[in-house]
């Protein structure tokens, strides 16, 4: 069977994941991009006689390589050379979305343009896709992933385009800049770079750090010097060359969009409902209380519902352990299966409902579009502890499980802010710590105000996180500097499909399970070994290694009333 690879790319919030799921039937293989903790999703589908591998690239606005996500996307397209790059755009905001598309064309990628969310512009905007296709030198397909419109057309178009050559698209940067581009191009002869010469020349004028770096590696400093001379002479004409280049791209796009679309009603009408909601949830006085209430409900539900399921799971594993023990007669193996394997896995799985439910709520809030508003509302408060508002979402996720929380920090573009958010995340108490809190509370406070005490333990974690943020920001030289909040898109409110929310929360829960399956599992086996060795002793008795360890710590712990068994748990 023939096999091709295509890449999906697009701005954040354009429904790229939904398209990916529709194409591949959600049978994604999830891994990491090499060297970074950014999730890489791959899947495949078959069309007629051809196997088509689909790689999902991160959601980005441009290819300027100033965030990890942009760098990954650009590197992938340039170095892995997918057979087709499918650019998914939000039909309700063509101008900004097409910017990324034009960059892809400049990069020299073979493209397919997908106008997604086409259902949202019904009776509001008409897009002449034939004309658009002609102007942008690409095939155009209209889809709505959530309404399952146009998916078959998309598959067909992908298949067709794989077998067709495509025209290039040039942005006209005006005679002065074009002259410089030609000059730089002539310097690039005999150079082995994976990009087109025109792309390299334009990016050099934009002072792209990665390309400059690559030239330096090839010891072509003389080219860089020549480029700087060109930039200097151009800046006599344009005060800000980089802005000029970006504006030229936008000028091309705006011209094309004007020629190929017709507004049936003004855009303003579409925004009113979203505006009305925003007036309330982002209000100076109401914003924070609304957010606090929302979070309170989420946590209340998580622990009530989660606790309900957790009890059953605990009982199930207890029962399962007993049952399996009946069938295994070798006492050592029996103990390993019952106490080590089943007991150990059980202690981890007990947290699963809590985590799943918490992520279900948070994914829902995120997919609806509320989380971006929460980040906005929290911005002032977060600023005062030295973090941008955007860092707030990973911190909230940390209450579920710190692993996906740390993975969520990748949307923070500024490296200092991202590092700091990762560093303080472990202070946020994840669900797995609750049982330990319950235990300690029971021991130290003898069931007086348990809820209040546990709540204050959580608060303590938050306070420590805040204090460490301040401490790190002011002491670690690499983290010094200003909070970098510049710009954040607030997606339009929309009701996500149940499938989308479930998938989203499952993807996060899976991170927890992965850790549970590996690190925590080995920890559990280790505890079992320590409890059973030397062979022949009663499980976790005073003669076992654990017992010895327990005795060793006894002088420290007995004054506060820890019994023998409880010492082991710690």
């Amino acid at each position: 069977m023939k096999s091709f690879t295509i890449a999906l790319i697009g701005n954040p919030n354009v429904g790229k994941s939904a398209i990916f799921n529709e194409l591949t039937g959600a049978n994604a293989h999830v891994g990491n991009w090499p060297g970074v903790t950014v999730e890489k999703k791959e899947g495949k589908f078959t069309y007629i006689d051809t196997e088509i591998n689909v790689v999902d690239l991160p959601g980005i606005y441009s290819l300027s390589a100033d965030s990890i996500d942009e760098r990954i996307a650009r590197d992938y397209i340039v170095k892995q050379k997918p057979d087709l790059v499918v650019c998914i755009v939000d039909s309700t905001n063509l101008v900004r979305n097409l910017y990324l598309f034009v960059l892809l064309k400049e990069l020299g990628a073979k493209t397919l343009l997908v106008l997604n969310m086409i259902d949202l512009i019904d009776n509001k905007l008409e897009i002449d896709d034939a004309k658009l296709s002609q102007s942008l030198k690409t095939r155009v397909v209209k889809t709505s992933a959530t309404k399952k419109i146009g998916i078959d057309n998309l598959k067909e178009a992908i298949f067709d385009e794989l077998h067709h050559a495509q025209e290039e698209l040039f942005v006209d940067y005006g005679s002065d800049i074009e002259r410089s581009i030609e000059k730089i191009k002539s310097l690039l002869n005999n150079l082995d770079l994976p990009y087109s010469k025109r792309f390299v020349s334009i990016k050099l004028l934009e002072q792209d750090p990665i390309i400059i770096e690559e030239l330096k590696k090839l010891q072509k400093d003389n080219i860089i010097e020549n480029v700087l001379l060109e930039i200097n002479s151009l800046e006599k004409i344009y005060t800000d060359l980089q802005t000029e280049i970006i504006e030229k791209r936008y000028a091309l796009i705006e011209g094309i969009v004007k020629n190929t679309t017709k507004h049936l009603v003004s855009i303003e009408d579409r925004l009113t409902l979203s505006d009305k909601i925003d007036k309330i949830v982002t209000n100076r006085y109401l914003g924070i209380p609304i957010f606090a209430i929302a979070m309170l409900i989420v946590f209340e539900a998580t622990f009530k519902l989660g606790g309900f399921f957790a009890d059953y799971i605990e009982q199930f594993f207890g029962w399962f352990g007993e049952i399996s023990a009946q069938y295994i007669h070798n006492p050592l193996l029996q103990s390993f299966v019952k106490d080590g394997l089943i007991g150990g896995v059980g202690t981890v799985i007990v947290f699963l409902p809590n985590i799943l439910i918490l992520f279900l709520f948070l994914s829902f809030l995120e997919d609806v579009g509320y989380m971006a508003r929460a980040a906005f509302v929290m911005d002032k408060l977060m600023h005062s502890i030295g973090l941008p508002g955007r860092a707030f979402i990973p911190l909230i996720l940390g209450f579920g499980c710190n692993v996906p929380a740390i993975m969520a920090t990748r949307t923070i573009a500024d490296e200092k802010d991202r590092l700091l958010t990762i560093l303080i995340n472990p202070f946020i108490s994840c669900t797995a710590r609750l049982p330990i809190y319950v235990l300690l509370t029971g021991i130290f406070f003898k069931d007086r105000y348990p809820a209040l005490i546990i709540f204050s333990l959580y608060t303590l974690g938050i306070i420590v996180a805040i204090l460490s943020a301040k401490l790190f920001r002011s002491t670690i030289p690499k983290l010094k500097g200003k909070v970098s909040f510049l710009i954040m898109e607030l997606p339009i409110y929309r009701l996500p499909t149940l499938k989308a929310v479930l998938l989203h929360s499952w993807e996060r829960t899976r991170e927890f399970l992965k850790k549970a399956g590996t690190v925590i599992f080995f920890g559990v086996v280790l505890v079992w070994l320590l409890s059973s060795l030397p062979f022949g002793v009663e499980y976790a008795s005073e003669q076992s290694y654990v017992g010895v360890l327990g005795k060793f710590f006894a002088p420290i712990l007995s004054p506060v009333g820890f019994g023998f068994g409880k010492r082991l748990l710690l």
Binding site: Y61, I246, R270, S274, D275, D379, P388, L486, M488
Partner: protein
């Protein structure tokens, strides 16, 4: 005038971005280029929310004070 002083619900046009020279390519690439029209949805004097081309953005105070706008004709 800087965007931070703009009134809500009036359409403005971006004149220029003060301090340019590549320090703000990120939002230029998101479409906040000179000539673009935007409307202030909410101005909290800290961060502000603007609507542009049918999408909404929250802008930091620092950025909002560097974007120079005038009322659109």
């Amino acid at each position: 005038m800087p965007l931070i002083l703009a009134d809500e619900n009036i359409e403005y046009e971006i004149v220029r971005i003060a301090g340019g020279h590549g320090s703000y390519t990120k939002f230029l690439e998101m479409g906040l280029v000179p000539g673009a029209k935007l409307r202030v949805v909410y101005n909290a004097k800290g961060p502000i929310i603007v609507s542009m081309n049918g999408s909404k953005y929250a802008l930091g105070k620092g950025l909002a004070s560097k974007i120079i706008v005038r009322e659109a004709a």
